[in-house]
Symmetry: C2
Subunit: 187 residues, 2 copies
């Protein structure tokens, strides 16, 4: 009988992480993921997204309980504030992705983290959304993220980790690189 | 006494929408918004975002009840699936933004919409996240969105609306254009 010791750092199973990386090195296809969402307009500025299945490690995985999100706009932007608005959801995804990237890369290096908090902010000019000025991009002009990290690791190591976390983060790269979006009507 | 008739199309108060646009034309500063989020690492791949205040129309607005989101990873990606993962949150934001953009631009043109459903999907190769191959971008390689729209409007008009909705959408532009992200450690 074989006994296995699992190394857990920052709540991340590092043994499983290295095993996953080894599996990817043996079979590149394991790294290919496809993420999916279904969206339904409710009324006015309110809509609802359901996230259930995804493809990865060569098969489709279906969650027993889907994750459901309500999005809306605040009153000032013609909504009823039943949920955060889409550009705030983007900040939530970005914050989560860089944080998880940071925690995992720290764990892989054996660096213990006690806490991570971050604040994010970005400017948007509604001239873009309302198509009032062609020279104004409707999206965020830029996004600033400030991290506060508690750890015994030296400040310099933590600074490197923040940069590495951003460099490796799927959401950060989707935002900072030009990512093609293809829309089509399938009535 | 002045009585006002409010025109509501697709649940959008079109009178308020045009009033907002007129106000922006008179004072450009009204269009300047700043959206914000606070994020806290919980454990492992789990983290929590709180969205409360934002700046817009020349002042800060604080919601009475903040919106709180839990993000996690599925078991396959070392998590406990307590929430959708960050790249799925990005899809939720994108779906919501293009849908709201579509509904509002339709309303502004007097086009009534009965229903909108959409499915989104995008490929991610984990070679990027795990920094196993420098040539692989960690982000989405591209995102495909398929819309089904019920409306009396001609098919051609709906196709134009889908394209206009994407063109005007803040999240779609944040993703499709290169948007700078600045991270810093503020310990």
């Amino acid at each position: 009988m074989k006994t296995q010791t699992q190394t857990i750092i920052n709540g991340v199973n590092v043994s499983q992480l290295f095993e996953t990386i080894d599996n990817i090195k043996e079979n590149k296809k394991i790294a290919k993921f496809n993420f999916r969402a279904k969206n339904k307009w409710i009324d006015g500025t309110e809509n609802q997204t359901t996230v259930s299945d995804f493809y990865g490690a060569c098969k489709t995985h279906i969650r027993e309980t889907p994750h459901v999100f309500v999005k809306d706009e605040p009153l000032l932007l013609l909504g009823k504030d039943k949920g955060a608005n889409p550009v705030e959801y983007l900040l939530a995804g970005l914050a989560g992705c860089i944080t998880t990237s940071l925690v995992a890369h720290a764990a892989a290096r054996g660096i213990k983290i006690d806490s991570i908090e971050s604040t994010l902010e970005g400017d948007i000019d509604l001239h873009g959304l309302f198509q009032l000025d062609e020279s104004v991009n409707p999206g965020y002009q830029g996004i600033n993220i400030s991290f506060k990290i508690k750890s015994d690791a030296p400040e310099e190591t933590l600074k490197e980790l923040v940069e590495l976390a951003k460099k490796a983060s799927p959401v950060a790269n989707t935002v900072s690189q030009p990512t093609p979006i293809n829309v089509r009507l399938d009535n």
